[in-house]
């Protein structure tokens, strides 16, 4: 796998500079990807949602309410931290961390749930539903539901319920009903299926808060817009702190919401390389991974066309990753498009590499990252030594690792 800076296009002439980036198109397509592949019953509510989203994203009153909540409730802006000790240890590029782990609820997910819940209230919906893998999006949804007094049901695969007990308890404390999904592979994709079925049944009073940049239009664009606060802040903070833009922006990619949130405001900065890091699980060559962009093929799942992990008959395959939040066989359609156009590149790191980075950052900087985030950190640790000391990598520290204590301890043979 290429880790050398020039293989990633660093220092190459800018690409796609001629035209401003304006995806998706009116029907939610990013080139051949995205779209609205859903049963007829959902077409009307999706149209209503798109109209509401377009209206309120241009409504100063809504944006003021959103900004105030992000500042006073979430704690934004989150800082950008120069990880000097870790940078010195790696002996190459300077590493900067966008501290989304410091948000209320401990991850970037809340940026989106705040936005969608405010939208739900404006649309007069009284009940919200969500799917969750690691539980971070479920917790972020249950949190905003508690605050706004909305009923909340969270769908979670039975496998994930078992490996993320602490988050299940948090959601229940917050007043949400957590439904363990027993169909299919009993992980995130099946939780999404079940949430869609709930939505089809209860469209009149229910708002479905999708947690990532996947699903049918307008979700990929809407979630991206709510998450783009990450990149907008970080771009200004990098200029302020280092006097220039970073050479590389990097984030882990499951569905891809924290990555798009960081990348999107940098898309026009063609001198900035964008790298998404997928979960290679036991290794891409073992077939036991969750890396559709690196090792999958295009197909249609959960309302959009994108890269998928699928077999020769078009059945979706089971994924494997130490990190529940990356354990998903698809990826947001905008990432598929950024890959095909070459504007972003995508790589994958194994469970073991992610775990090593988890320990590395914890020991050198006193920051315990989520296992999802640790995938981005692992690739940054490979890339940084190939770069010069006056270059920089900005990594989205998308979540904190408290939720992963049990998993990490278990992998090391300890019982907490």
């Amino acid at each position: 796998m290429a880790t050398r800076a020039d293989d990633l296009g660093l220092g190459k002439p800018p690409m796609m500079a001629a035209e401003p980036y304006q995806w998706p198109d009116a029907r939610g397509h990013f080139g051949p990807y995205g779209g609205m592949f859903v049963p007829e019953t959902l077409m009307h509510p999706l149209t209503e949602l798109r109209q509401a989203y377009e209206r309120y994203l241009g409504d100063p009153d809504f944006l003021r309410e959103l900004d105030a909540d992000l500042r006073d409730y979430v704690g934004r802006p989150s800082p950008v931290y120069h990880a000097e000790r870790w940078s010195r240890e790696l002996g190459g590029a300077q590493l900067f961390l966008k501290r989304e782990d410091l948000n209320h609820t401990g991850a970037h997910k809340v940026n989106n749930t705040i936005g969608q819940a405010l939208l739900a209230r404006r649309m007069g919906k009284t009940r919200i539903i969500a799917e969750t893998g690691a539980g971070q999006h479920g917790v972020a949804s249950a949190t905003v539901a508690a605050r706004l007094g909305l009923e909340c049901v969270v769908y979670m695969g039975e496998v994930d319920v078992a490996r993320q007990e602490a988050n299940v308890y948090r959601m229940r404390l917050l007043g949400a009903e957590v439904v363990a999904v027993k169909s299919g592979t009993r992980t995130l994709k099946d939780a999404l299926n079940e949430a869609m079925r709930d939505w089809v049944t209860n469209v009149d009073n229910t708002f479905y808060i999708i947690g990532t940049v996947a699903g049918p239009h307008p979700y990929p664009a809407m979630v991206r817009d709510f998450q783009s606060v990450i990149g907008r802040e970080a771009r200004g903070q990098m200029i302020e702190q280092s006097g220039r833009l970073p050479d590389v922006v990097m984030a882990c990619v499951g569905g891809g919401s924290n990555a798009i949130g960081l990348f999107h405001p940098f898309i026009g900065d063609t001198e900035v390389a964008m790298i998404g890091v997928e979960a290679a699980g036991d290794g891409l060559d073992t077939g036991r991974h969750a890396a559709p962009l690196c090792a999958g093929t295009p197909g249609v799942l959960h309302g959009n066309r994108t890269y998928l992990m699928e077999d020769a008959n078009g059945q979706i395959q089971e994924t494997h990753s130490v990190s529940a939040g990356l354990d998903y066989p698809g990826v947001g359609p905008e990432h598929a498009w950024l890959k095909d156009t070459g504007r972003a590149s995508y790589v994958a790191v194994t469970d073991d590499e992610a775990l090593a980075a988890f320990h590395g950052l914890t020991r050198t900087e006193g920051i315990i990252p989520a296992l999802e985030t640790s995938h981005a950190l692992a690739y940054a640790a490979k890339l940084a030594p190939t770069m010069r000391k006056d270059q920089s990598i900005l990594i989205n520290l998308s979540g904190r690792g408290d939720k992963d204590m049990q998993t990490v301890a278990r992998m090391e043979g300890l019982q907490l």
Binding site: R27, P39, T41, M43, P298, G314
Partner: protein, 277 residues
């Protein structure tokens, strides 16, 4: 004229409502599916909807999800389902068969290759539940090039503009989903269905089938008062599951045959009562 058109022309002339059973291809085994198809025709089925198993069936309730899982556990693919139809056609060249499924298995095969294989197998049409008209132009072109029909869903949430958009691309018949929900869910309100069918018929000339929520002879008879076709899925698949679990899979064709005969009688009595239309 396609087999589907011929069927509905004939039924219209006779003042009859079509009975359309749905089963999942390969549930519980491909051999039983073939036997069951013939038995259903003998019991009065006018058209068969054959489900293609897909790993992530978002429009289906638990009963059909489990049927899908039983078929997938045996590795049943889109090609296998087409193979069942090919064998069915060896002895039945009258009864239309419509494939019902999700896009991804077709997408992997390729639209044109799928349409060709479906036509060659003797399939008459397809209903792809996650492809609304907005996303269907490539599929429509491929399907129609082979002279097959593309059947679309209509829902309680479909407004006039959506009904008109579907009228432009649909052929064969349209399938009205009578309740907001997944297959096998909810209780159907016949008066509500009737008023929606009036709105649909004002904009679509094709026959209108009604499905989701028809569980017994009584609901089938009610729907037959207003619909051109009564579509029954979960009530059949639930019976298949029960027998398969009890180790009595060999009784499936007979039991489902008896169930369809009951529905047939109830629908015909309604039609004879002159309430149709």
């Amino acid at each position: 004229m396609s087999r589907i058109q011929t069927l509905f022309e004939r039924l219209r002339g006779e003042g009859r409502t079509a009975l359309i059973p749905f089963i999942t291809g390969g549930d519980p085994t491909p051999a039983l599916t073939l036997e069951l198809m013939h038995r259903m025709v003998a019991a009065g089925a006018d058209l068969i909807e054959l489900g293609v198993p897909f790993s992530d069936p978002i429009a289906d309730g638990p009963v059909i999800q489990r049927a899908t899982e039983r078929a997938l556990a045996q590795g049943v693919s889109l090609r296998d389902v087409l193979g069942i139809v090919r064998r069915f056609r060896e002895t039945d060249d009258q009864t239309p068969v419509v494939l019902m499924g999700y896009l991804n298995p077709i997408e992997v095969m390729g639209n044109a290759a799928f349409a060709e294989a479906a036509s060659e197998a003797g399939m008459d049409g397809a209903l792809i539940v996650d492809v609304p008209p907005e996303e269907s132009h490539q599929l429509v072109d491929a399907i129609k090039a082979q002279g097959l029909d593309l059947v679309y869903l209509l829902a309680p949430t479909s407004d006039a503009a959506r009904i008109e958009a579907i009228a432009e691309v649909a052929s064969g018949f349209v399938y009205y989903v009578s309740v907001k929900g997944v297959t096998g869910a909810g209780h159907l309100d016949v008066d509500e269905v009737k008023s929606k069918l009036d709105a649909i018929r004002a904009r679509i000339e094709l026959p209108v089938g009604v499905g989701f929520g028809i569980r017994d002879a009584a609901t089938a008879a009610q729907v037959a008062q207003v619909a051109d076709a009564v579509i029954v899925g979960s009530a059949i698949v639930g019976r298949i599951e029960a027998l398969a679990q009890e180790g009595q899979a060999e009784r499936i064709p007979a039991v489902i045959g008896d169930f369809l005969s009951e529905l047939r009688v109830a629908i015909d009595q309604t039609n004879d009562g002159g309430q149709h239309g």
